[in-house]
């Protein structure tokens, strides 16, 4: 097998592995932002999800129960965010940053005893059965959460485009006044959207502790939650484009390790910066000084 194929396999495998938490967090943020609210606290939700999933998986022996708990922790943080934001004269960006620090802090505090013990991991689906090459098979070990994430991507799109809830959510995100005139409770819709977004972000966190890297420690997340929020803007508030952006970001992140595995070690740290450079490059290439962001929910456009 040539080095190039090795790198390509590494990038594909890495794309799927690394993109999973990005995918869940960005889908969650996409839902929340479609209702006209920004939740910057998803980094805290992610870490909280990772800790609670690991703890429950360790205590009960069931990783799936851990995933569910992570989601519930996310719902709780989302509800807290939504409740704070519905108070008068509260800014959702400031609340988000506070809740990000809060979530990370609480997770570190509660997670102290979980550093060290080993919890059962999530299973992987082998999509490389057709190949005799061990490398191919190991690269195509697809984690179960990624598969769920794929289903969720199209599920979220269906929800937004084809269901009553989606239509109401988009109305609230595009014009709170119109929604109020139609008798919808804007704060309540945003509460549910923020809770649902929190659920997805919590599940994304469980991936970090229960699959890859697969243990709980305080350096587990290196800002994936924040990057995922930025990916939503990059993906222009479209769930399917969130998937594409997550895969692109994951693949670029895997480039450094993949090159290292075939012996290219010079510039390792430089290659690790690829996702950021790539994101910046695409943002600059697609930006315009004169044009407003297409696809952005109108309620987010207002300075509040």
């Amino acid at each position: 097998m040539s080095a190039a194929t090795g790198v390509a396999l590494g990038v594909i495998g890495g794309a799927i592995r690394i993109s999973t938490p990005f995918l869940f967090v960005s889908l969650g943020e996409c839902l929340t932002e479609k209702s006209g609210r920004v939740n910057l606290g998803l980094e805290g939700t992610l870490v909280m999800g990772a800790m609670s999933a690991y703890g429950i998986s360790y205590l009960t022996g069931s990783p799936w129960l851990g995933v569910l708990t992570a989601g519930i922790a996310g719902v709780a943080l989302g509800a807290l965010h939504a409740w704070l934001c519905s108070r008068p004269r509260v800014n959702d960006v400031a609340v988000g940053i506070a809740l990000m620090l809060f979530g990370v802090g609480v997770a570190f505090f509660l997670g102290k005893p979980l550093i060290g013990p080993t919890a059962p991991h999530l299973p992987a689906v082998s999509a490389g059965w057709w190949s005799s090459s061990a490398q191919v098979r190991s690269a195509l070990q697809i984690n179960a959460l990624f598969v769920i994430g794929l289903v969720m991507t199209f599920g979220v799109r269906f929800l937004l485009q084809r269901t009553r809830w989606g239509l109401i959510m988009r109305t609230v995100g595009e014009s709170a006044d119109s929604a109020r005139a139609m008798g919808y409770d804007v704060a309540r819709v945003r509460l549910y959207a923020t809770m649902a977004g929190g659920f997805l972000a919590g599940v994304g966190g469980s991936f970090l502790s229960l699959f890859y890297p697969g243990s709980w420690n305080e350096g587990l997340s290196s800002g994936q939650g924040l990057m995922a929020v930025a990916l939503v803007i990059f993906a222009r508030w479209d769930p399917v484009r969130c998937l594409a952006a997550s895969l692109l970001f994951g693949g670029a992140s895997a480039l450094g390790p993949a090159l290292q595995s075939v012996g290219v070690t010079s510039g390792y740290y430089l290659f690790n910066a690829t996702p950021y450079v790539l994101t910046l490059a695409i943002i600059i290439a697609t930006s315009s000084r004169a044009r407003a962001l297409a696809g952005q929910p109108a309620e987010l456009r207002m300075a509040k």
Binding site: R162, T163, R164, W165, L167, R170, T171, E174, S175, D177, S178, A181, M182, G183, S288, A290, R291, A292, A294, P297, A298
Partner: protein
Amino acid sequence: MSVADADATATVPLIVPAALEAVGLSKQFGSVRALDDVSLRLERGTVHALLGENGAGKSTLVKCIMGYYRADVGKVSVGGVEANIASPRDAAALGIGMVYQHFTLVEAMTVAENLVLSRQKHPFIFDWAGERQEIAKFMATMPFRLDPSKPVHTLAAGEKQKLEILKQLYLGSSIVILDEPTSVLTPSEADEVLGLLRAMVKEGRLTVLMISHKFREVMQFADEVTVLRRGRMAGKGRVADLNPESMARMMVGDEPPRATGTRQERKRGDLILTIAGLSARDDLGMPAVRDFGLEVHAGEIVGIAGVSGNGQEELLEVLAGQREADDGNVRIGGNAFRARRGEMRTLMVRCLPDEPLRNACVGAMSVAENIGFRRFDRPPFRWAGTLVSPRALRRHAEALIKDYGIRTPGPDAAISSLSGGNVQRAVLARELSEDVSLLIASNPCFGLDFAAVAEIRTRIMEARNRGTAVLLISADLDEIFALADRIVVMSDGRLVHETPIAAADLGVIGRHMAGHGHG
């Protein structure tokens, strides 16, 4: 209601109840009596106009009927039965719908989505193909049609207004209340929409209550009229028995409408403003101003007429330094002008933008500070090199407050606490208190009451008489006709028509505004 029923109405008029009747409504907001014992009777199958100045209580009356507000005193009955309307939802259940002055459509969604959204009941999962078929069937019974799959932001203003009306019919409303339905339309679009509405009323499908301040539309399309002044009923009657003068008298009371300052005959002065080949894009990157050229001389007012959204806003932003041009140049008295602060000072360019509180003021800062924006960093306001003297600013402002009759609690009050007319007076005081060679004004009287309008127009006319070149952008044709020496029409970003005021023809200008100048 069928035609036969309508005939029955005509034969036994005393028994048939009004479609909607409000009796003795009063509403107090704090110390302001917004509505004082107002009654209104809306007969079935008629178009009824509600006339009045800003603040006369038209909106309050309508909002009490729709259930946004609860009247302190008085009752509303629908079809002769007393109704307890506590919310717009209750109104909708009684078949009363409202079309607001500002569109309540969700711009990012399609026509079909907006119609479906307005409905009270939705299935959990939408079958959009089926919904579109249903809507197509509904549209087939309507006198005007729209493509259900088109996103609303791609519709012209007239189409959006039609969609608002379609929405009410889709919801099955039999009484439709319209709040200044034509304020965003071209004259021909307005005629079309009102004509269609009237046709539906005459077919017996609808009863319409329309808030308006345009006499022409009231005369042409309404059957009956109720006039409000300062929260009280000032008159009512059949339109056929009235004329614009009698209605205007009801609206403004006994005081005659004040004239706009007199235009002094003067020779055309030096060339001041030259715009050549100017092009600019809008926020979405689409061309908004296209190869625009214009000259304005000292002592003349050039009015740019046009329907809002045809590039006037972008043109103003380029001239005010808020937007960069793609191409072309602007010269003032022969000097290149890029709207820098220094250039505005040396070339004496001043600007009255739309929405002055947002575009020309800092709301939380005081009246004195806002009045001082142009000069606070120059003597006598600057002292000891870099310090600003609040006392000098305040004294300067006090003089202008007196001169311009700005009603404010004092020079230190936040300018955002002033009424719209007084904010505009304060901006006018700032912009016109020095020598001005070019004044650029955009919709300077939008949303102001009669007295403020007359005063601000007089100030602009006086500036012209003193030799200032004035570029006036306005969506209000009456304003352009009242002030301009020369009228140009802007359509789709281009200058499409130019005429001196003496030769100006309303019909020709309207056609050019609608983009049919050559058709």
